[in-house]
Symmetry: C2
Subunit: 347 residues, 2 copies
DNA sequence: TAATTTTCCGTGTACGGACACGAAATTAAG
DNA sequence: CTTAATTTCGTGTCCGTACACGGAAAATTA
């Protein structure tokens, strides 16, 4: 029993292909009794449209928007999602999809508003969005909902009904994993510190979640550090960072530092320069700077957020939603990859 | 400038579509000078065939063979690649591809030969193969080469020119990673053991490579175990295993055990039953049995070979080779994922 | 009953590429 | 210079779906 085509169904039903097509697409202009007859046949023969033929016949251009921070100064993190977007474009039906990029400065709230001001809602068919400024983003999402624009979020989750799907990592559990790694076989009675260097901690729920997860691990485990210190350095410069770290390192018997985002290389540099070797260091993301220190064994573990994959999967979901009307899972959790010097080469 | 089609190129070159088509597919029967002219145009305009139109026009059935061990007794490992194959089938253009399964008993050399005896070389267009028996497999690969049948290997590498691509993990480095994990923060002066439980160690080069990598780590590191013991239990039953382990554990101060394949759960069970708690355990693969012990913290780390992904990528490569003539990379290394109790949920 | 509208359905073509077939042009042989 | 062989190339058809267009039949109105 080979594959049934519209033509086959039409012949069996003694109607033309056009009629079958109208039934399939519910375009009306078919008498109830032939409609029912054809619908039954479609079900009986389990008719499935040929995707190749369909997409050939459709040939419509898809316009998708990507709204996310751009790379400014040392926030090289945001280069990674761009790679994922490029990969997705290569994998998808190339020229069929046009990506419109709306990149904003994640320190410039007004600039972000300005972008939203001129956002061409009508021209877009879907949005991939990495939210930063909470209020403005929420507003944007609501507007998208009004315009019936499907949105897929990544990197950071805003809990808005307008969002069709979120692609990201479970921040809480990644902190949990970090805690396991940093405490695995650690000497008893020493201290641990958590370093927050997010530009604006309040903007990123996942930064907070990571710290929560990190602390939760020790609450449920037999091994505890003697002290657990938090250092918040929102928007601080490198000088202030070094001061703070020096202070902490001399006041406590620091066995490990957990940096809650990708700027762990700054701490690594400090430790390296001040030759503190018995300090474990765990942070996030495969930035070139971080990789350097991982290779030198100055960073022990990096947890990858997989920003490329987040963007890749996000764009893919959006495409499948817009083109094939395939509803994505509301939450797409990516694995929490553990990267060490030894397995780095394969990521 | 919109997308160029064969028709466009043909018009610009003042030839017909057929001629352009012949140049694209290198089917000859085109004079050198028109060929060059058209090739230049193709490059200049960066012609890319429309995949929808192409697959519609081709509409040929692809027959691919999968040759790998089947699940017998407690070798549940081989269920995993089957999942990957199913995923690949779902992702590929469904009905276009037919998979023919040739599953053999990895303990039954003759059975394998029998399969090869009746292998329908002529009917297949590609083979995904997990080699076990070295000589027979080599013979099979040579035969495939004669028949011009492209082969993609996974799981275990046989170095034969007939092989178009290998999808797998760098076994040596995975052993290296295992060593890092087992020795990370380990107390000085204790002992480590390597446990080999492969059915036939000599059949699997990667088992040996894992042990090599494991040992190499300590050769290049400052931290060493006091003793490093190897236990070989090829084809041994569970009773013998327990005996051997008991013996080792009482003769040495074992701080950690590295099991070089997915049967690590057997060692976990022993340690659990004998209540030896200060022993680290590292092994391979997310079998249900292993996951159980990972959750109980009786296994510290599992390295995933990603058998599903191996099969998935392998089948994908084969498809792309057969259908689109896209040559795969000769070696496709998969990342060495580190799985702990804490990040397990996301794999 | 004729004229008009409405409902229902068939025909034709586009989408872009692959390939079979056969025609025209070129070359080789006599 | 003709004829045959060979090379080179154009035409036409098919793949399966979507949709525009228009025709025929049925229903409504005059």
């Amino acid at each position: 029993m080979t594959k049934v085509r519209i033509k086959d169904i039409a012949e069996i039903a003694n109607v033309s292909m056009g009629t079958v097509d109208r039934v399939i697409h519910k375009r009306g202009e078919v008498s109830p009794k032939t409609r029912e007859k054809i619908q039954k046949l479609l079900e009986d023969f389990d008719y499935k449209p040929d995707i190749a033929a369909r997409s050939l016949a459709m040939k419509r251009d898809i316009h998708l928007a990507v709204v996310m921070p751009k790379v400014v100064n040392d926030h090289t993190f945001w280069e990674l999602p761009q790679q994922g977007i490029q990969q997705a474009l290569d994998a998808l039906d190339h020229d069929q999809v046009t990506i419109h990029r709306f990149y904003f400065d994640q320190l410039d709230r007004l600039g972000f508003s300005a972008i939203l001001e001129n956002f061409p809602y009508g021209k877009m068919e879907g949005v991939l969005f990495a939210p930063v400024f909470r209020e403005e983003s929420t507003e944007f999402l609501e507007r998208c909902a009004e315009e019936n624009l499907p949105v897929v979020l990544f990197n950071s989750l805003l809990d808005t009904p307008a969002v069709r799907s979120y692609v990201g990592q479970d921040a809480y559990h990644s902190g949990y994993v970090a805690a396991k790694l940093i405490s695995y076989g650690m000497e008893q009675g020493r201290d641990l510190a958590i370093v927050n260097m997010s530009a604006r901690k309040d903007h990123y729920a996942h930064i907070i979640e990571r710290e929560r997860g990190f602390r939760a691990y020790f609450a449920s485990s037999e091994s505890h550090p003697k002290h657990m210190i938090s250092i918040d350095l929102n928007g601080a410069d490198d000088l202030l960072l070094k001061e703070k770290l020096s202070e902490i390192c001399s006041s406590y018997d620091i066995a490990g530092l957990f940096v809650t985002n990708s700027r762990v290389h700054k701490v690594a540099r400090f430790l390296s320069e001040t030759k503190r070797e018995r300090v474990r260091l765990v942070g996030y993301d495969l930035l070139p700077e971080n990789i350097e220190f991982l290779k030198q064994d100055r960073i022990d573990f990096l947890l990858s957020q997989k920003p490329e994959e987040q963007a890749f999967q996000g764009l893919n979901s959006l495409y499948n939603l817009v083109v094939f009307n395939r509803e994505p899972a509301p939450r797409q959790w990516l694995p929490i990859d553990i990267i060490t010097r030894e397995n780095l080469a394969y990521y």
